[in-house]
Symmetry: C2
Subunit: 466 residues, 2 copies
């Protein structure tokens, strides 16, 4: 669900709070478990019935038996870079809402034979700044006029340019959930990457880029989120864009401001503000989205279907995971779908099933009853020490080998960080710690949380020794 | 593989012919079966080993045992409209090469637990005319200058417009396998749909749109592939585009021709030819592609992987089915990949496996040996007659119920036509035949082959009676 809706910064969160309250009022009959992600569906190989889920409860795998049904509502794959590349026609992209939607529900559904649908549809991309602390994009749009959806920063003395230093969109138009009216048809907004917002001193002083940013965006310049230069030429060199093309683009754009007309993209007249007061600034923009739409195919009963269109017995889904919205612009229909199909899925999953008396269930009885299973225990040998800290995806556990005070090896025992930038960061940090013999090494850009958690885990292991 | 490469119209087909010859020379050891599509992989539920495939040999299901491995190389999903919507961010699109790639290999791989990758990458879209006889797009590009890849028609007195009657691209630039340099980054060509080529009498007489079209494109006007009108206003009304916007766009474009400069999309100077000689013409363009890239994930040994990254034993893949090309522009790398990974997959699939002596194989021995299985036989009751003809996807079999000379019901016993337009056509034709009591009804536009095959099948059933 939308970050603003939950955090209440722009709207009142009334829908979310109503649902939350209804759950709390039923706490005698509804157990809510946090930090217990499902890791696998339990399926009978013969009947294909789903009998429950395996969950990872702080490192312990627990089999949860479901008498009548399981509802998958794990959200989409906003934080899974491999799936973004595989399904969204983008080389990269970032969530601006949920931080923990990793596509695990899609993988679990595939593992029990589900068909997928609507995989390339997404409520995005629009362009925002990446927050390296969270590996998600800052929320709100910056395109479009200032309102409850947009900070309006891009309507100041700001243009967006693509990889070659030229403009590719109307900065004054807010992309509706990442969709634009492209010559009469609503399509995903075409973007050139890497993309940058280019602006001048007047724009910097006009407003914080985001409501959470500092006055004059001073802190964000210090943090490196904004690059500063005295000339456009120097700015172009700093961000790796052709400086002749960027200078030409700014001259052209400034002439549109003088003429009060943008003949190329039709930017709104009252937002045609020239870029002319030094120093100049650049800010990298990334494709961002509120949510994905793809996932297991479901029917009108919220039942999940296999690749031949047959129901997978006792498996249901709701929410953005396998949403009914295909390639069209879904508007604000996502919430309506969540409520309607959440209710349908819940009712049907709770309904008593007659097919559970089958032989297969009896056969599987012992394996399927709820039971705590200890994971394989790691017993450190002499000179080895265990350490742990929390990353973005949960605990990061390490086994550090020491020879007196020298760190000779670091082995990852457990992690659930995002594939791609975060897992690459793990390799980099390990090499760096061993090379420099200190846990105070540089964090990997774009994976700060993972980097720091890993350093802390190693530090904790070393302290274990002492 | 590319249509031109096989049919030899533009190039020499030398690669394809070399491979074909090599297979023919080995006919003592290689059996080639046509009209026997694989319909399911045979997998051991416990070991996950792939032991063979079920094939549909003209209506009879045959289990083919594979001693050491199965190589999936079924191509992509160019002809599966549902998958195009689900994976390509397009509401519709058409193959301009293979006619029989329906995504069946992807479904079969999913059914045995394969992970998918690179699903949204496609060698397209570029814009071409749909051939309603084949339900594929005419091959060659029409954008770009005339060469071995393009007919160059769009560089005549022709513009492309989108749903609102405005231009959205540089008609003089050929999209490289559907990719364009979008402000410095190579992306899939953004398209506005429905799209139209708008041209005048001078363009019509300049050349056939495609090499297979008639002189002056006269036959294609008669067939309705080209719409003709005396004025732009009338033309706009015929194709359902805002006539004021289209007239304004043509005036603007003609002014670029006078000024020898297209300030919006930078169309090449020598192609700026005005649209001014009546009558005027419009031709609908559809997104088209040579091939898709997505499918089951494979490793460097051409082994297919499951959603947790484990090898599915004895299953290999090659070609565009799960190509290694992710979100980047694949250039002409597809053929290189076909050759390299075809060889790797073949060698590894043929290598003798030690894991086939497992108990599970013995257990499954009877079920897994090659054996002919008769499909459920349809025995017509009194007043019912069987008929058959060939559609695009293979045989269409019908059971026609007659009351004396009246056709009272038509039941489809078997068909493998494309989901979407073709299956909708089946319903329409059946209703139409029953309503009009004749098999001479209008074919459904876009599904002519399916329509005619169905009419013939019913006709054959009626003749069966007589």
């Amino acid at each position: 669900m939308d970050a603003m809706l939950i955090e209440g910064e722009a709207w009142t969160s009334s829908l979310y709070r109503t649902l939350q309250k209804a759950v709390e009022e039923r706490k005698d009959s509804i157990d809510v478990w946090y930090e217990s992600p499902a890791v696998e569906l339990i399926q009978d190989a013969k009947t294909k019935i789903i009998h429950g889920v395996k969950v990872d409860n702080k490192g312990t795998i627990l089999n949860i038996c479901a008498k009548n049904g399981v509802v998958l509502c794990t959200g989409g794959f906003e934080n899974n870079m491999q799936m973004i590349q595989d399904y969204l026609q983008l080389p990269y992209g970032y969530s601006k809402a949920a931080r923990y939607n990793t596509g695990d529900g899609i993988k679990m559904a595939m593992e029990v034979g589900a068909n997928l649908w609507h995989m390339s549809n997404v409520a995005g991309p629009d362009l925002n700044v990446l927050n390296p602390e969270t590996n998600t994009a800052f929320a709100y749009a910056i395109q479009g006029k200032k309102d409850s959806l947009s900070t309006g920063f891009a309507t100041q003395n700001v243009i967006f340019v693509g990889a070659d230093g030229t403009r590719f969109t109307d900065e004054s138009l807010i992309p509706n959930h990442g969709h634009v009216n492209f010559h009469g048809s609503w399509t995903h907004m075409p973007v050139s990457l890497p993309a940058f917002a280019i602006f001048d001193e007047t724009a910097r002083l006009s407003q914080p880029v985001y409501p959470t940013w500092s006055e004059g965006n001073v802190e964000e310049i210090e943090k490196g989120l904004i690059v500063k230069a005295d000339t456009i030429k120097e700015l172009a060199e700093k961000i790796g864009v052709d400086s002749d093309k960027l200078q030409k683009q700014i001259r052209e754009y400034n002439s549109y401001c003088s003429n009060r007309k943008d003949p190329i993209f039709g930017r709104a007249k009252d937002t045609l503000k020239p870029i002319k007061k030094a120093p100049y600034y650049a800010m990298e923009l990334v494709p961002s989205f509120t949510n994905t739409q793809g996932g297991p195919e479901r029917n009108a009963n919220s039942q999940v279907l296999d690749v031949r269109g047959h129901v997978i017995p006792h498996l249901y889904s709701a929410g953005e995971l396998g949403s009914m919205f295909s390639s069209i612009y879904q508007g604000s229909g996502n919430l309506g779908e969540c409520v309607a199909f959440g209710r349908i899925a819940g009712q049907n999953a709770a309904a008593i099933k007659n097919d559970t008396t089958q032989e297969s269930v009896m056969e599987g009885k012992i394996a399927l009853k709820a039971s705590w299973q200890e994971p394989k225990e790691i017993i450190p040998r002499s000179g080895e020490y265990l350490g742990e800290d929390r990353g973005i995806g949960g605990p990061i556990k390490v086994l550090v080998a020491m020879n007196n005070d020298e760190i000779t090896n670091i082995e990852i025992i457990y992690h659930n960080e995002t594939r791609g930038v975060s897992t690459n960061a793990i390799d980099t940090i390990i090499q760096s710690i061993i090379k420099n013999q200190t846990t105070q090494v540089d964090a990997v850009s774009g994976a700060t949380v993972t980097s720091k958690a890993l350093m802390n885990a190693v530090k904790n292991a070393i302290e274990e020794k002492e």
